[in-house]
C-alpha cells in the first residue's frame, strides 16, 4: 500500500504541475483537496481522468469520487480494490 501511495503522490505532482512540491510534502492521511496543496474541485476531476487513464478505473458519479479522495491513503485503498 505504501508503494502505491508513493506512486500516487508522484502522479499527482506530475499531473498537476505542482512546482516545488515533493512527495514528502503530502501527508497521506490529510484530505487531498481543499488543503495546503491548493488543489480544487477541477483538480479532483483531473484526478478522476488520471485514475481512468492509468488504472482503468472509471468514475461517473461525484459521490464515488468524494469518498475515494478523502485522503491519499483512502485513494490508494480505492485504487487497489478497483484497478484492472
Amino acid at each position: 500500500m505504501d508503494s502505491l501511495i508513493e506512486e500516487l503522490k508522484t502522479k499527482i505532482i506530475a499531473g498537476f504541475n505542482l512546482e516545488g512540491v515533493t512527495p514528502a510534502d503530502i501527508n497521506p492521511d490529510e484530505p487531498i483537496f481543499g488543503t495546503g496543496l491548493e488543489l480544487d474541485s477541477i483538480d479532483a476531476l483531473e484526478l478522476v481522468a488520471i485514475l481512468e487513464q492509468d488504472y482503468r478505473i472509471v468514475i461517473l458519479e461525484r459521490s464515488v469520487a468524494d469518498k475515494a479522495f478523502a485522503s491519499l491513503r483512502a485513494l490508494a485503498e480505492f485504487v487497489a480494490a478497483n484497478r484492472s
Binding site: 512546482e19 477541477i42 478522476v48 481522468a49
Partner: protein
C-alpha cells in the same frame, strides 16, 4: 408603457420537445419529456445517456440556409418568430438600419469541427470544409443576412446564460434607442465536446435530469434554439404589431468565485435577480412564478433554492424547472425559457417540473409538478452559466399598463484609466511605440503538423508575455494560454487608484473571435484518439469561451456584468459597447473591456489549404497594395484590455473614449460608412472636423485598403478638411482581436506616445497634432464597430 420599453411581438422555438411554439407547448401541457437516446453521433462513453436531441430534420427545415447545425437551429426558430411578428419577408416597414440581431451561442460549429479532427487524426484526411462554420458568430451573421438587418449585430457567449444575456443586450439596445427591433435568442447543437466535457465534470445523470428531486444526480444535455422579436413599445404600436408580452426587467452579475461551481450561498444569483427587479421597479411580491435555471445538478439546485429563499423570504411564488422537457440546451436554455414565459403569460398557465418526484428535505422547496392554469402577471426567469455568469429576466403580461422608467442617458464619454496588452509588439505603450518605429515586430515560425511534419507558418506570435510575473503559479497552471494572455493584459490595465471600489460595480467584458483554440483542440484530440476514455475536465473548462472574462472577474474580484462577445473582427468593439452600457446606466462604475485570440495550428492549416496564407506570408504593409486579394495578411495573436471609469482627479486619465457603436452593412460602401461614422460622432457631440485620424483595419490587401482609404476620403469631405487614414495591423498581425490592439494604438497616438507617421497611409506626421482618433473596424462578415479616442 414608456416609449422605449421593450415588448415581445414574436417567438419561435425548436428543441427536443418539438418544433414550433404550439408543438412545444403541447408537450409542456402534457408534461411529456422529449429526452431520448442519442443518435446524432455515436458516443461510446455516453451511449446509454438520455439526451434532448432534436428529432426533426434540421437540414430540411432550414431550407437554403447554410451554416452549422447550431446556426440552422437558430434560423428555424428565428423564421417562426419573424412570422409570428408579421415580418415574414424581412423587417417590412421597419427601417433596416433600426433592426438588429443579438444571439447567444457556446457550441457554434463544434460538431463539424469534431468531424474535421476525426477525419484528420483517424484517417489522415484533410476535410477542412466544416471549419468554415466553426465560429459561434455564424448564427448572428445568418439571421442578419436573412432579414437584412443593418443595426447592431453581435453574438454573446456566456455559457449557459448566453441566451438570456442576448435578450438582455437586445433590450438594452432598444432602451438606448440604438434599435427599434431586435431578433434575439440563442441556439446550440449537441456535440461530443459538450457531452464529454460535462461528463468529465461528473455533471451528467444518465437516466435524465430530476430537478429539485432528492435523488437528483446531474443534468441531461440537450440542443435547440429559441428566438424572440423584441421591439420598442412605441414603434411596435405604430406598426400595429400584436404585443405578446413585455420585458419588464433584466439584471446580470458574476459570482467571481469558481470556473464551474456556483457560489454555494447563491450570492451572484441573488444579485442578478435583485438587479432585474430593481430595473423593472418591482418588488419580490410582484412575481407570480419563477422559471428556475434548475439544471438538476446537486450544486445548482441547492444554490438556486438558497438564493430564491433569500429574495422571496417566506413568500416564495410557485417555482418550476423545465429542463427535462428538452435537456439543458446550454446557450439556448435562457431563450427557450423566455419563449415559454411568454406563452405562460398568454395562456395564463405554468409548466410543471417533469423528473421531479421526491422532495428534498434539505432544500425545502417543492416545485410545481405538473402543468396547471393559474393567473400570471409576471415571471422571473433565471439563467446561470459557468464562471458564475448570472442573468435574470422578468417577463410581464402584454396588457399591463405599468410604466417602467427608462434610466439610460447617453454619456458624453468615459475616461480611459488603464490599458494593457499582450502582443508580438509588446505589452506597454512604450514597447508598442518602439515596434511601430522599427517597422513592425519580429515574425516567428509556427509549426503546422496538420499540413505536414515540417510545415510552418510565419506569424506574429506573443512569445513570452510575462505570465510568470503577473499570475501566481498555483493559478497559472489552471489557465489556458489564452486565458493567461487576457489576464496579463487585464492586470496591466486595471489600476483602480486609491479609492476602494465595490466589486458589484465593476463590469468585465472580454471578447474573443475563436476562444482558447489550443485547449479546445487538445480536449477533442484526446477524445478522438482515446475513444472518449478519460476526458480531461481542465481542458474543457478552458474551452468555455466566457472563461476569459470570468477568470479575470475571479482574479480581480469583479462581480458586475460579465460577458464574452464573439463577433469576428468586432469582438472587441462589442465588448466596449457592453462595458459602456453598464457605465452609462450607472450599474457599473468601472469596466474592463478587451479581447484576445491565440494562434492554433488547425486554424493556420485551414488558412494555408484555402490559399489565405503561405508558409512565408509576407509582412503586413498597409496601403502598399502588395498582397493579392485571395491571400490573407500574416496571422497574429494577442490581447488587449482597457479599464474605463470616472475621471477622478487623483488618477489623471490616459485619454477619453466615446462614440462607441456596433452595426452591420450589406455591402462595402465607403460613402455610407463615412456618414455612419460622422453621425455616430455627432450624436456624442464630436464634430467630424475635429477628427485628426481614422485608424482602420487596413492590412495590405488591395480591397480593404482601398475601402478604408475611401472611407477616410468620405469623412474628409464631410469634415471639410483632410482626415488622415491610418493602420495598426503591421504591428500585431491579422487576428480577430486585432482592433483591441488598434484601440491601444489610438490611445498612444492621442497621447503623442506613438508617432503618427508610423501608422498613417502617406507617412504623414500630422503637423496639426493627433488628438482625436476615430477607430473603425469592418469585418468581412459585414459587421462593423467604431469608437473615438481623444486626448
Amino acid at each position: 408603457m414608456s416609449r422605449r420599453n421593450p415588448v415581445i411581438t414574436g417567438s419561435g422555438i425548436i428543441c427536443a420537445a418539438g418544433c414550433g411554439v404550439a408543438a412545444v407547448w403541447e408537450s409542456v401541457r402534457a408534461n411529456r419529456s422529449g429526452l431520448g437516446p442519442l443518435t446524432l453521433f455515436s458516443s461510446p462513453r455516453y451511449a446509454n445517456h438520455l439526451v434532448g436531441q432534436v428529432r426533426d430534420n434540421v437540414d430540411a427545415l432550414a431550407g437554403n440556409a447554410r451554416g452549422s447545425r447550431s446556426d440552422k437551429l437558430c434560423w428555424i426558430a428565428a423564421r417562426e418568430a419573424l412570422a409570428a411578428a408579421g415580418l415574414e419577408s424581412g423587417p417590412g416597414k421597419i427601417n433596416p438600419a433600426r433592426a438588429g440581431v443579438m444571439i447567444g451561442a457556446t457550441v457554434g460549429g463544434m460538431l463539424g469541427t469534431e468531424q474535421f479532427l476525426a477525419a484528420l487524426l483517424r484517417e489522415k484526411k484533410h476535410r477542412f470544409g466544416p471549419l468554415r462554420f466553426h465560429e459561434c458568430a455564424g448564427a448572428a451573421d445568418l439571421c442578419a443576412r436573412k432579414i437584412g438587418a443593418l443595426g447592431p449585430v453581435a453574438t454573446l457567449s456566456t455559457a449557459c446564460s448566453a441566451g438570456a444575456m442576448a435578450i438582455l443586450a437586445a433590450a438594452e439596445l432598444i432602451e438606448q434607442g440604438e434599435a427599434d427591433l431586435m431578433l434575439a435568442g440563442a441556439g446550440d447543437s449537441l456535440s461530443r465536446l459538450t457531452l464529454n466535457g460535462f461528463g468529465s465534470l461528473l455533471l451528467l445523470d444518465p437516466n435524465g435530469c430530476r430537478p429539485f428531486d432528492a435523488r437528483r444526480a446531474g443534468l441531461s444535455l440537450g440542443e435547440g434554439a429559441a428566438m424572440l422579436v423584441i421591439e420598442a413599445g412605441e414603434t411596435a404600436l405604430a406598426r400595429g404589431a400584436n404585443i405578446l408580452a413585455r420585458l419588464a426587467g433584466w439584471g446580470a452579475s458574476c459570482d467571481a468565485f469558481h470556473a464551474t461551481a456556483p457560489q454555494a450561498e447563491g450570492r451572484g444569483a441573488l444579485a442578478a435577480m435583485q438587479h432585474a427587479l430593481e430595473h423593472g421597479r418591482l418588488q419580490p411580491g410582484d412575481i407570480d412564478f419563477v422559471s428556475a435555471h434548475g439544471t438538476a445538478t446537486p450544486d445548482n439546485d441547492a444554490m438556486e433554492t438558497r438564493a430564491l429563499k433569500q429574495l422571496f423570504g417566506g413568500r416564495l411564488p410557485p417555482v418550476a424547472s423545465v429542463k427535462r422537457f428538452f435537456g439543458h440546451t446550454l446557450a439556448a436554455s435562457g431563450a427557450i425559457k423566455a419563449v415559454l414565459a411568454v406563452q405562460s403569460l398568454r395562456e395564463q398557465a405554468v409548466p410543471g417540473t417533469p423528473g421531479f418526484e421526491v422532495a428534498d428535505a434539505g432544500l425545502g422547496l417543492e416545485p410545481v409538478k405538473e402543468f396547471r392554469e393559474q393567473p400570471v402577471s409576471r415571471i422571473l426567469s433565471n439563467s446561470f452559466g459557468f464562471g458564475g455568469n448570472n442573468v435574470a429576466l422578468v417577463f410581464e403580461r402584454a396588457d399591463s399598463d405599468r410604466t417602467c422608467s427608462v434610466n439610460f442617458s447617453r454619456s458624453k464619454g468615459f475616461a480611459i484609466l488603464g490599458i494593457g496588452a499582450v502582443s508580438a509588439a509588446g505589452g506597454s505603450l512604450a514597447e508598442i511605440a518602439a515596434a511601430f518605429r522599427n517597422g513592425g515586430p519580429a515574425a516567428s515560425a509556427f509549426p503546422v503538423p496538420a499540413i505536414s511534419p515540417t510545415a510552418q507558418a510565419k506569424v506574429y506570435a506573443c512569445g513570452e508575455f510575462g505570465a510568470d510575473q503577473f499570475i501566481a503559479p498555483a493559478r497559472r497552471r489552471k489557465l489556458s494560454r489564452l486565458q493567461q494572455m487576457a489576464l496579463v493584459a487585464a492586470r496591466k490595465s486595471f489600476s483602480p487608484g486609491p479609492a476602494a471600489i465595490a466589486p458589484e460595480k465593476i463590469c468585465v467584458a472580454i471578447g474573443t473571435g475563436l476562444g482558447s483554440l489550443n485547449d479546445t483542440a487538445a480536449f477533442v484530440e484526446n477524445m478522438i484518439l482515446k475513444d472518449e476514455r478519460a476526458p480531461r475536465p481542465s481542458l474543457f473548462t478552458s474551452s468555455v469561451h466566457n472563461s476569459l472574462a470570468s477568470q479575470i472577474a475571479i482574479e480581480l474580484n469583479c462581480s458586475g456584468l460579465n460577458s464574452t462577445p464573439i463577433q469576428h473582427e468586432i469582438s472587441f468593439e462589442t465588448s466596449l459597447w457592453q462595458a459602456a452600457t453598464e457605465l452609462a446606466s450607472g450599474r457599473a462604475e468601472f469596466a474592463l473591456a478587451g479581447a484576445a485570440d491565440e494562434l492554433n495550428q488547425y486554424q493556420l492549416a485551414a488558412g494555408m489549404r484555402w490559399g489565405w496564407w503561405r508558409e512565408s506570408s509576407p509582412e503586413i504593409r498597409p496601403f502598399a497594395g502588395a498582397l493579392k486579394n485571395r491571400e490573407r495578411p500574416r496571422p497574429g495573436e494577442g490581447g488587449a484590455v482597457v479599464t474605463l471609469g470616472p475621471a477622478e482627479k487623483t488618477v489623471p486619465p490616459l485619454a477619453f473614449v466615446s462614440a462607441i457603436r456596433i452595426g452591420r452593412s450589406e455591402q462595402q460602401n465607403a460613402g455610407s460608412e463615412a456618414r455612419w461614422i460622422a453621425q455616430t460622432l455627432e450624436r456624442d457631440s464630436i464634430s467630424v472636423a475635429n477628427v485628426d485620424l481614422l485608424l482602420t483595419g487596413a492590412n495590405g490587401l488591395t480591397e480593404p485598403d482601398n475601402f478604408y482609404r475611401a472611407v477616410a476620403e468620405g469623412l474628409s469631405r464631410l469634415a471639410g478638411r483632410g482626415i488622415a487614414c491610418g493602420a495598426y495591423k503591421h504591428a500585431c498581425g491579422e487576428h480577430h482581436s486585432a482592433s483591441a490592439f488598434g484601440f491601444l494604438t489610438a490611445v498612444g497616438l492621442a497621447r503623442g506616445e506613438i508617432a503618427p507617421e508610423h501608422c498613417t497611409m502617406d507617412k504623414t506626421t500630422l503637423p496639426g497634432g493627433c488628438r482625436t482618433v476615430a477607430l473603425f473596424t469592418f469585418s468581412p462578415a459585414g459587421t462593423k464597430g467604431m469608437c473615438c479616442v481623444r486626448a
